[in-house]
């Protein structure tokens, strides 16, 4: 069988092996913790009104989803190359006719599969809890207000449903995944020139924090609000070198019931693809020269 320069099958094999490797690291223990958090949050603050209770549940759940995805994206990706070097798996793989870029793509895809799978599971768990809580609150309100007329029931239902389960919330989860994809690609790029796992984790985390405040810096730079050339140069450099992760921060407004338009989904997909492809190219250029 002739050897091809690019093989999706090889990338897929590497990706599934990466998922197995990460699962062995008990990385999905977070899922259990998440479930406990969601159930606890759903019964916290019983004194708040129903709308607030559902919002509270969504805030906590989405917060946990974001923390899970970003932490796994940074830590799991940062661990991959050093772990493969330590286990000598890297030498075994690269001694075969596997191009280095395929190895990197396989690793990144593996992390994204793990994060995506985790988010789907957590989204399902959260949706079930939110739906149950919504029904429970609705029943409680109908009973406490002694509502019997169809128009009263419809009004109560609309009031509770406003903060209940909608398809829109799943698009919020998609935004979280896309942000995690960018962070994973970024962590992969950093790990290609990093000297240690800790260095990768710290640098990536710093870039992630800067990336969330990047809108401010970019606007200062583009609108010429800074006068000192040092400030301008610094803000320009940070704006150029860090990704704008705030583009994916639609979650808080999705929680409030804002509708995610198809245009917004396209923007997030496009932005995410731009970063992932760009960082993968840079990762490859760095990894090709890396002495193993």
């Amino acid at each position: 069988m002739p050897h091809s320069n690019f093989s999706p099958a090889r990338i897929w094999t590497l990706a599934t092996a990466t998922v197995t490797q990460l699962m062995r690291m008990k990385i999905l223990a977070f899922l259990g913790v998440f479930s406990v958090i969601v159930v606890a949050a759903s019964f916290a603050s019983p004194l708040l009104n129903p709308e607030q209770q559902l919002k509270q549940l969504k805030d906590v759940s989405f917060g946990a989803l974001q923390i899970f995805s970003v932490v796994i994206a940074i830590v799991a990706t940062a661990l991959l190359l050093p772990r493969d070097l330590e286990d000598r798996t890297l030498y075994t793989i690269l001694s075969k006719p596997v191009p280095r870029y395929e190895y990197l793509l396989g690793k990144l895809l593996g992390v994204l599969l793990l994060i995506g799978g985790g988010l789907i599971l957590m989204d399902a768990a959260f949706s079930v809890v939110l739906w149950l809580r919504e029904k429970l609150l609705l029943a409680q309100m109908v009973q406490s207000l002694n509502a019997q007329r169809p128009e009263d029931l419809a009004q109560i239902e609309a009031y509770v449903a406003k903060q209940g389960l909608t398809w829109n919330l799943h698009l919020g989860v998609l935004a979280i995944f896309l942000k995690a994809a960018v962070v994973s690609a970024l962590a992969l790029m950093v790990s290609c020139f990093a000297s240690s796992t800790l260095f990768t984790v710290v640098i990536t985390k710093c870039v992630v924090i800067i990336g969330h405040g990047q809108t401010l810096m970019r606007e200062f730079f583009l609108n010429g609000k800074m006068t000192a050339w040092v400030e301008q140069a610094l803000s320009a450099l940070l704006a150029i070198l860090t990704p704008d992760l705030a583009v994916f921060d639609i979650v808080e407004n999705v929680i409030q019931g804002e509708v995610v338009t198809w245009g917004a989904v396209q923007i997030m997909l496009g932005t995410s693809a731009m970063y992932v492809v760009g960082y993968c190219v840079v990762s490859h250029l760095l990894f090709v020269e890396k002495e193993l």
């Binding site: 970019r218 583009l222 583009v247 808080e252 407004n253 923007i267 496009g270 731009m274």
Partner: protein, 251 residues
Amino acid sequence: MKRKLQALLVLLILGGLKLPVEQAATRYLREAKLLSPPLDMSVRDSIGQMGFAASLGGLRSLVASITYLQAYTAWTNVDWAKVDAYFTLTTSLQPRYERYWDEASWHMAYNAASNYRNNPKLNAAVREKLYADHIQRGVDILKKGLHLLPNSALLWKTLGETYERRSREPKLAADAYMEVYRITQRLHYARLAAYQYAITEDPSLWRKAYDLLKDSYDKNQRPPSLLSTIKELEEKLKIPLPSRIPDVTKP
């Protein structure tokens, strides 16, 4: 070394290309109300560095929920200064969530104001001063919220109620109810506005009240308070007899 320079070049080119793309994306998402305006840097001092980093890290909603719960705890401890401070934070973190503005105003204009007014440890002058100050604070919170959410029927309604029931300013209450009517087109709010216009000292506003109530009457919405108010206004405005509504027959 050559590859590293290439990598840096790719990174710089990507950075240069992405700036206008990001700017356009941010503008689009803000217009679609999917992105909030950037966080006010003054919030940083109030929520501490950890909270600020978390809110900057895409967790604004979660941090707002936490500060809201802290406000709730402060309320149970009857600590009005803390309630106000935490709600200020909460509304700064999530300015588009109208319920936070509504509740913050309610705590100040109703709970805090009444609590001070009924505090026997304070002398009468101080009690009344604090009462008035906290009602005004509630009004100010609503006005700030309305500056950001000018089409929030909930906030206009609460403002109308606050003017009507707390500071007893009927014209301002009526104007606020008229805004609710503008947004919802529900005649109920036009009537609420009319009842407030009717109790002012301004005859031009009585006329406005009469027109609003007559409109409701002509559309067959005739609750008892509407009928009695129209009757009063007919007297005040000296409406010609043929134009008056029939007398209300008492059962």
